[in-house]
Symmetry: C2
Subunit: 632 residues, 2 copies
Amino acid sequence: MPFAERKGCEKSDSKFCGVETDFSDDFRSLLSFNCDTDHGRFDFVLVPLMNPSYRPSLVEGINSETQVLPFAGSDLVLAPLEWRCRVTGKISSWIDLDAKDETLRLDSETTLKQEIAWAKHLSLRSCLLPTPKTTSCANYARCVNQILKGYTEMELWLRIPLMDSDSEDPKDSWELWNSFRLLCDHDSSLSVALDVQNMLPSENALGRWFGESVKAAIISTQCFLPTTQWYPYLLKNHQKLITRFFHHDVQVIVSGKPVFNLQKDSVNVTEGMQAYLDYLSNLFCKMEPFSAQELKEVIHRDRLHTPLQPLKENLEAHSYEMIERDSVKYTQYQRAIAKALEERVPNEKASELTTVLMVVGAGRGALVRASLQAAKDTGRKLKVYAVEKNPYAVVTLHYMVKKRGWEGIVTIISCDMRFWSAPEKADILVSELLGSFGDNELSPECLDGAQRFLKLDGISIPSSYTSFIQPITTSKLYNTVKSINSLSHFSTAYSVKLHSVARLAPSQPLFTFKHPEFSRKPNNKRYKNLRFNLPSDTGSALVHGFAGYFETVLYGDVHLSIEPTTATPNMFGWYPIFFPLMKPVEVHPKSPIEAHFWRCSDSTKVWYEWSLSLPTLSPIHNPNGSSYSMGL
Amino acid sequence: MPFAERKGCEKSDSKFCGVETDFSDDFRSLLSFNCDTDHGRFDFVLVPLMNPSYRPSLVEGINSETQVLPFAGSDLVLAPLEWRCRVTGKISSWIDLDAKDETLRLDSETTLKQEIAWAKHLSLRSCLLPTPKTTSCANYARCVNQILKGYTEMELWLRIPLMDSDSEDPKDSWELWNSFRLLCDHDSSLSVALDVQNMLPSENALGRWFGESVKAAIISTQCFLPTTQWYPYLLKNHQKLITRFFHHDVQVIVSGKPVFNLQKDSVNVTEGMQAYLDYLSNLFCKMEPFSAQELKEVIHRDRLHTPLQPLKENLEAHSYEMIERDSVKYTQYQRAIAKALEERVPNEKASELTTVLMVVGAGRGALVRASLQAAKDTGRKLKVYAVEKNPYAVVTLHYMVKKRGWEGIVTIISCDMRFWSAPEKADILVSELLGSFGDNELSPECLDGAQRFLKLDGISIPSSYTSFIQPITTSKLYNTVKSINSLSHFSTAYSVKLHSVARLAPSQPLFTFKHPEFSRKPNNKRYKNLRFNLPSDTGSALVHGFAGYFETVLYGDVHLSIEPTTATPNMFGWYPIFFPLMKPVEVHPKSPIEAHFWRCSDSTKVWYEWSLSLPTLSPIHNPNGSSYSMGL
């Protein structure tokens, strides 16, 4: 029984909770006991499929024609849907494909393949692979890779301890996962099941896992403490971790024997497991509910979008609709415009002077409305030009002017701002040409064209903007890009609501643009290299690419930002941008990342190129904008 | 308001009904009038987007910066979802992109592009393109093709009359569609909207359209006759046609003025359109409801599946599950086995003689059960060997034998029948190794191997089987194969529940296999060429490939068939097979189709090759089984 029907979690795996059990010959009873009775109402069992005493080498020589493999029951003991939804197969934990002993090694391979074939026969959704016995796990990975490449409909979860329990020579267990995953070439059907024990690694080390493909967290009953009511509970750090798993669609599996109630007779062992489930369920229900806006955005998490190109292509009605809905943004614009108006026209001249304000890229009129409202609020007189190149948005502008009675105040100009011959000069230029990465919708080029008709002492809103980048782990996005199956997709930037992401170091500012810029010939080409250091307690990590953000000064102290640490609250108009790397790069402690970013242009387009020089050299991505560029 | 909530029709377009209207400046009222009031509760309107008097050449010279295009209202007059779901844009019918007059030609292109851009701005789901003015429509097609290649999210429906109304020199209007579609290279976003008038073409000519991508049928009010209640109705042939459209997801649009009630004052014109809707709704509801089995199969219509390869790959539990569900098939097997038992052992010897029956490819035991039931029904004594190569199905066989108490009667052999050394010879060999195309699951090769342990006078069930082929039009399947974007997919056969298909000529038998075959060295290679003639009243048609079926004699007069004209009722275990052609071939009246099919083999595999020699030569598909073969 899933934890709860939480809105927006309909498709989340994290509402399901499983339990790890021993092998049983009677699968029907095993399932009923753990999933259907008062002993436990878990959603699924993690259970060995084959008798653990089986070794292929011991049955050799017996007549193979009458032999039957020692699986638990047959496919008919459960209904097909029960097999699929209620059973995760636990591959025999004795197998060791990198053992020195050849018999053991060959037995291990035979058994692994037979168990996977059986799981495939049953159409199980997932199987758990035992933790590699050592870090040199090439033969194990080779065999798993063959399975992955031959059959893609089943998830394989590699069991990895969150902390290495070897107290003498503790290793970073993330390295174990990383080796295995690299050998299997980032196969998207291979994921991690994390074994959570008493000890937890540092916050930064933990954080890495949220950019990895973690499908399950197996939590030992040893992690729980008894309360005075003899009921189990988790310490704060464990609570926080489990909640974070819930937020990331990681399903939880309880493992081990109930340990809290040994001193109390009335609670028996079987009721015990239900108590752990109750605790986790309670934790799940205590999570902050989604806001209305979050609910809308859940389905956009980690979905790659091609960034809009509003200059080259006309936006469609539904895009305007989306953009206009972000009321926080327009409130900020209105504040900035009001500030500019008050600064430009002193109170005592408010009734004489008319400010000429031009909205360049007026769209369907949202900034026109904000401007008129700012004028009303400040008691300033305004004359507005609404300049828009999209003839289909102009249809709406005409409709708006008529409907709202703006005829005397607003003049509609159906023209590209870069080529318009304005009849007079403006006091204030207002625009909203910024993309997720600031300049990536060609605001610099457009405003350079428009400042021809701005007075020399005129004001541009926005007056400046800056892009930011940050190295991230994100195996999900990497695999999505990879699945498009063309190298050019790694030389493209994507707009994406980042979720399954580990931010490995604080973001740093990249390119800044200021408007107006009368003093020098406009040059919008840029180059910068940035050095990032991972916090020392992170351990190693894999960098799949860079997240990009922007911050803008609209006017004076009125800002907008989507950079995580300074983000404008409740503004949702922009998702971050993602620059992938063709080949993910392993970063070790104390070894910095050095990234190079360029903004290039020719007569018809603008584009970014990017590369790494540390810890290793990467090819320069997107040379000449061959994969991704913004058309002028 | 959709016609009805019919189970299995949840995603069908045919439950929606539209109405064609004139241009109106007041879109809001237009929509309310036709969709929300007693005047009509149509689901959507087919309506011009732009003032029909607009000609780009007439507004030239006017200052373009302050100009606005004469669209009806703005995007804001309807909600985004209303635009999307309730409006199909009707492109100005005056446009003629192949006109001799250059002004008209250029005006037409400008207008078409502006209207499509507007429809795109509004995110309309579909637009109706006017019927090409002549059969030479290359420039019209060029322009539409550019639109299709630049923007794939909108469907374009080309309006085509079902019958050419030109009484002097009537043309086959299908040719008009075919030219346009070939010029646009079968683009899957280009479909047909058929104009249905009073006169209908022959049944065979009509039939062609059900293999084409027909999205809408525009039915004129002129087709309806008044009843004595002054209510409209359709003659039988029109009724049949509309019902067939419903079955094929074609949405109906009513066009024209209400004509039936002019003599009756109490019914006004506006109520009139509702009467047509009521009639169509009634027709929709009168359709035969889906059977339980049909309901399950609706989602499989026209879905391509890779044919199973049960010899090379082990079937999974869910495949056995599906196969075993087909009770009609097993009843036929049981009848055939009973017949064979009775023939082999006379009544008077029933209690002495034990028949040795071997089920070769026993799977999870369905034929074992049928055999034991047949023995019980006929009072014959039986000894059964269940031979199965899949070790995971063998697990189930052991379980079944134990559960049903067959221990003394059934011996399970975990072995490939081709390599088994049987301890004795069989009287009867029973197998179910047939695929959609008879021999395509390698029944001939398997049974050749198994007849080693059949007595010389023994019986094989099945005793023979024959494949059939038939040329078909199926633009949907062709486009699906094309979308996989690799030529090799045109050299592959698919298993598919054919639905959007026009069967152009009766099917003909292709390859036959008989068992046992002791008399000669088994040779399972085959070659045959077949000639198909389209009925003379069909007109021209496009052949996208061949549908394949099979028929088998199990024993004596007990048959199974999936060939449409002889199909075993209520048997659903097999879908037909589809052999595509890389390049669809146009067939004209009186010109036959000649097809060549080969069954080839080498030591590791069996495969088909196929080609055409008439009406044109095609490349031979799948040479050496390079794209598709069955592993031995």
